[in-house]
């Protein structure tokens, strides 16, 4: 174990995987010479050379095609989007090609590509750069979706993503890159997909989240603990595959659930989780599921407006109070 930042853990994962498997390479904007927009790929060009750390033009369709096509031909690319907002340029390659080629070919061609980069809201980045779009990808059969909340998971999940035989949407959170945490140094350490982590055990309410929002949920749980409320906080870690077992097991003993994420609330992962909970745990519920999500507005710039648009621990606390009413 050693303490490192989330961004460093991601870099460690990629370094280890590139050392382990020559088929693994990185491509994206500013990943090489510039050392990575968020320093995630720092030093990798020097270490692995331009063949394996490919600086690309600002061409998200091209980058996605480079990754998808090379994966179809047997490589294991890691394509970095400078932010997931820019991946909107590449939707056709991602949705109509990467996600579907395995199915369309009856399994004869696979696409073991990782698409990664920062997602999420914050930093007054306003409408086009501050958003959480995982629900778009979760809607498409074929993608696996990982959204780590800790440095340890950043490493373990990214390594699993690289080793996966299908396309993986790997959404990091810009607000977490600097977060420090213990990370196993073992190059064989991985975190399996589809296994949620119980970040805090409790008996009154289950709070389900992932990525940056897990921190807000833990803070909310701390605040409420002083009032005698015992919250169980579950970090899903991967949206697809989803650990429904962890969700139902927890709700079976708390009987109440709050689902929270910073994405827009309508037609979202939290909506999906809520309906899933109703389907799987109806008789166990003592209150309707509460969803925490962003208001249905594009992200505003002004600080006060942005604060109102990004869900935080206060929203989680309100939601928990509501289900405990």
């Amino acid at each position: 174990m050693s303490v490192m930042r989330y961004a460093e853990a991601l870099r460690l994962a990629m370094t280890e995987e590139m050392e382990r498997d020559d088929r693994v390479f990185i491509c994206g904007e500013e990943v090489g010479q510039y050392q990575g927009t968020f320093r995630v790929t720092e030093g990798l060009l020097e270490r692995f050379g331009a063949r394996r750390v490919v600086d690309t033009p600002i061409s998200e369709t091209g980058i996605s095609g480079l990754a998808t096509g090379s994966a179809m031909a047997g490589l294991r690319p890691i394509a970095e989007f400078m932010t997931w907002s820019f991946a909107l340029e590449a939707m056709d390659v991602l949705v109509n090609h990467a996600a579907k080629i395995t199915y369309m070919s009856g399994g004869r061609v696979k696409c073991p590509a990782v698409f990664r980069g920062p997602a999420g809201t914050g930093n007054q980045l306003s409408a086009q750069h501050s958003q959480s779009l995982e629900a778009w990808y979760a809607h498409i059969p074929g993608f696996k979706i990982a959204m780590p909340a800790t440095p340890e998971d950043a490493k373990g999940l990214l390594k699993t993503a690289v080793r996966d035989d299908g396309p993986v949407i790997f959404m990091e959170h810009a607000g977490l890159y600097a977060q420090r945490g213990e990370v196993p140094e073992d190059p064989e350490f991985t975190v399996p997909f589809g296994l949620a982590a119980v970040r805090r055990t409790g008996s009154d309410v289950t709070v389900i989240s992932y990525s940056h929002m897990v921190g807000s949920c833990l803070k909310a749980a701390e605040v409420l603990e002083k009032e005698g409320v015992s919250c169980e906080v579950i970090d899903l870690r991967t949206i697809v595959p989803l650990d429904t077992e962890a969700i139902t097991a927890s709700i079976r003993h708390t009987h109440r659930a709050v689902v929270a994420q910073e994405e827009w609330k309508s037609v979202s992962i939290v909506s999906e989780l809520a309906s899933l909970i109703y389907e799987l745990c109806f008789d166990d519920l003592d209150a309707p599921v509460e969803r925490v999500g962003g208001p249905m507005t594009p992200m505003p710039y002004a600080k006060n407006l942005e604060r109102a648009a990004i869900p935080n621990e206060k929203n989680v606390i309100e939601a928990i109070r509501k289900v405990l009413a």
């Binding site: 033009p57 998200e60 090609h97």
Partner: protein, 334 residues
């Protein structure tokens, strides 16, 4: 054409057998396509159906000279490419009929024929779709230090999609061994090139990205064959993209729904007739006759063997089972 290509052309004249086999391949494609239409009308083939009639030389002139470890990508007008790659016609017909024995086990259909064992990495339902993929496939070749080529077919309509431009630029930037074949059949569905493309000189565009480019007569298989030999070996040697605009023509409508009545909105019968006078199969047939390599009885013999092969494909497909219902959930994830 480069000097070395001219030399290659002179050196590598096709034998009688080779020419007859190209003639047969083109005829197989034509008869196969005709049969797909019959089966479509019988309701045995569903979805969209895009036929390659008139463009046979574009695949027959190039694909047979490729190696098994090369890669071929194209759009949804893909039956011909699969046949040229050597995919079993029975598997193609079974795929078109949605059978478990299809080349994609009935999961893909007409637009998504695929056969990686024969280097065919798929048709693609999106007009500009194969181009970014070809960039990646080509990068994999270069990455592994191989001397394969990736041949990427796409249409004049695709050239107005952004991803094509991104990919042409990047393939030149990285020196990627892709042979881009622009199947300029003059129509993006029902919109003529002159109505969709302000600068119709596609060579200019490829060259703007620093890609060597030339135009060929898409009706003349011998020209295509002889001129692309050198180009392909150059790509293998130098690992860089090359661009060919094929001056071709789509004899039929865009798809089945684009029937002769519909086509009157955008093109004349006389235009179609004019192009049909240069039908690539007849063109090669006449040349072969002049050379004394093809006579009526030989023609009939080829016609008969093609007919048998198509009939066998149909009967195989019709006898084949539909996919097991469990297959619905198979191959969703990698």
């Amino acid at each position: 054409m480069t000097k070395s290509a001219v030399e290659a052309n002179q050196k590598e004249m096709l034998s009688k057998e080779e020419m007859l086999s190209l003639y047969r391949l083109m005829l197989l494609i034509r008869r196969f396509e005709e049969s797909t239409y019959r089966k479509y009308r019988e309701g045995k083939i569903g979805g969209y159906l895009h036929r390659y009639d008139g463009q046979e030389a574009l695949v027959a002139g190039i694909i047979p000279q490729l190696r098994k470890d090369d890669y071929i990508l194209c759009t949804y007008r893909d039956h011909a490419h699969a046949l040229a790659c050597g995919t079993d016609p029975r598997q193609i017909m079974a795929e078109l009929m949605g059978r478990a024995t299809g080349c994609a086990y009935g999961k893909g259909g007409s637009m998504h024929l695929i056969d990686p064992d024969n280097g065919f990495y798929g048709g693609d339902g999106i007009v500009g779709g194969p181009v970014p993929i070809a960039l990646g496939v080509g990068y994999a070749i270069k990455y592994r230090g191989g001397d394969q080529v990736c041949v990427c077919y796409f249409g004049d309509g695709a050239f107005n999609q952004g991803g094509v431009h991104e990919s042409l630029n990047m393939s030149a930037l990285y020196g990627i061994p892709v042979l881009f074949i622009l199947e300029n059949n003059k129509y993006a569905m029902g919109t003529g090139v002159e109505r969709s493309t302000h600068q119709p000189d596609f060579l200019l565009k490829a060259r703007a990205y620093g890609i060597e480019a030339e135009r060929m007569d898409g009706m003349d298989i011998l020209e295509i064959h002889s001129r692309t030999q050198a180009i392909i070996s150059n790509i293998r040697r130098e690992s860089k993209p090359y661009f060919i605009e094929m001056n071709a023509y789509r004899f039929l409508g865009h798809g089945v729904a684009d029937n002769p009545q519909q086509q009157k909105f955008y093109r004349s019968e006389s235009e179609i007739e004019e192009w049909k006078n240069r039908d690539p199969i007849h063109l090669l047939g006449r040349k072969l006759e002049k050379m004394g390599w093809l006579d009526d009885s030989e023609k009939e013999r080829i016609e008969e063997s093609v007919k048998l092969e198509v009939e066998e494909a149909i009967s195989y497909a019709e006898r084949s089972p539909e996919p097991a219902i469990e297959a619905l959930y198979e191959h969703v994830f990698g």
